[in-house]
Amino acid sequence: MVMIEVTGLTYYYPLSHTPALKEINLQIEAGQFVAVIGANGAGKSTLCLVLSGLIPTLFNGRMLGNVTINSMNTRNHTPGEFAGRVGLVLQNPTNQISEMRYTVFEEVAFGLENLGVSPSEMPERIEHVLRLTGLIDLRDRSPFTLSGGQRQRLALASMLVLDPPVLVLDEPTAMLDPQGSREVFHIIQTLTTKNTTVVITEHNLEWIAQTADRVIALNKGSIVLDGNPEFVLTSPLLETFGIDYLRYTQAARESQIYGLWPSQTPLPVTLEQSVLGFNRVSSIKKGGG
């Protein structure tokens, strides 16, 4: 089943003459885990706003083409109607605190209250996501006393509690240290088992290579590569779009020049693939020599 469908999408921000997104066509299946990569300004955040139904309704820019989320055209439905059906986590966690609630627990409840969930159902759902995000011990703290990483997890918990079938995440680990990022990655990974459709922009290619079903590379507002992680992350074009290769891929690319990577083997994107490839070269060399 197609969950998100984008046809002929071009988007101009107000007062801008160059489109932030250009002629995008895209279909995302329900349950698919899609990573969006690209250099700064490539249009990743804009795509996130489009895929969560906030553009065009909340923005005054000009949008051509159509976007449907779960068969609802984003031109005809307000963000309020998409709430609960599409989640969005932004980069800056502080701006995602409602400031209208007192404690972490109540903050997570805020979305449920807005969507009219029965109060008797709330505590269980809230406790579940607080446990999942490791915030359960902070439930009575004020959201403002949390660290950046804890706030980011709170932003994630506030979205997860709504249990949206589609979750869009725009650099959710940008403000986290490696440990914090790993925790958030782990939480997001649990979503894949729940058949949630996930779209994420993320700079950690290593994690993307391990987790994503599909990677989309953006360059100057256009989709330039779209396929499985092995295909996109090893593409010879990647560097022309200002995206760095994974260190494994880079090592193999450089070694290839000296014949130190087996010619028939695709470039690696994980540690395992890279170990396998280099092993094969050394055994060929040994066997041949």
């Binding site: 706003l49 969560s52 906030l54 909340l58 307000t78 963000p79 309020g80 109607e81 998409f82 709430a83 609960g84 599409v86 989640g87 969005l88 932004l90 800056n92 701006n95 995602q96 409602s98 400031e99 209208m100 609630r101 007192y102 109540e106 409840a109 805020f110 979305g111 449920l112 209250e113 807005n114 969507l115 009219g116 969930v117 029965s118 109060p119 709330m122 004020s142 403002f144 006393t145 932003a155 506030s158 979205m159 709504l162």
Partner: protein
Amino acid sequence: MTLGLYTAGDSWLHRLFPITKLIFSLSAIAIIFGGPNKWLSAILPGVISILILWSAGIAWRALKLIVQLLTPIAVILFIVHGFFGPANHQILMRLGPFVLGQEGLMYASLIVVRLVSTLASSLLLVTSTHPGSLIQALEQTGLSRKLVYLLGSPLLLLPQMARRIQTIRSAQQSRGLETQGNLLQRIKALFPLVAPLVFSALVDVEERSLALEVRGFSAPTPKTNLTEIPDTTKQQVLRWGMIVIAVCFLVFEFWRKRNGYD
């Protein structure tokens, strides 16, 4: 922890239904500026507010805030009206070419007393009520969430602004910009402070509204509440009482003025 002006606590004042405190503040302000007998109307609400704050154990913080905020304004008012008040007639003192007039001084005093009273009665609400509780209480009264947010967001924006000013200030101090020194230096240093402040505030407002939207802030469904803030019949009666008193005072003053009693 404090969020803006709110001081956490568990006094009877903290536990009052926020709307009761809101109505008190609004009635007090109406009387301060529109009640009969200027001086009494200006002083009494302030004194009552301070007494209430004192019984709740948060008077010192409120008084400190009042002094901090109003001292510069008071000094300016006294100078401007004391020396240059248009109604000055009775001369109290001569300072070189300047003359201190009694009428101007009295006028400035009245304004200052009114400001102190206004601030005290507002602080009664603000220092004892978490912005979130006030907002939730407003929601409970059945107002639309958008209207509530519109009313509440200045309250919410203030602490946010204060945090940001602090951040930008320390960033700029570390880059060697003056945030201390004489008045002129400080005013000059204000410009590089204001530009990023305004810009980042705009970006933030946009991002915040996006974040609220995806959490169903304007979802077309009826809202629920995790917990209800308790209200009581007594407080309801009290609220109506305060409204009636304020209206009576205003009507009485209006009637007095119309019939030329001043």
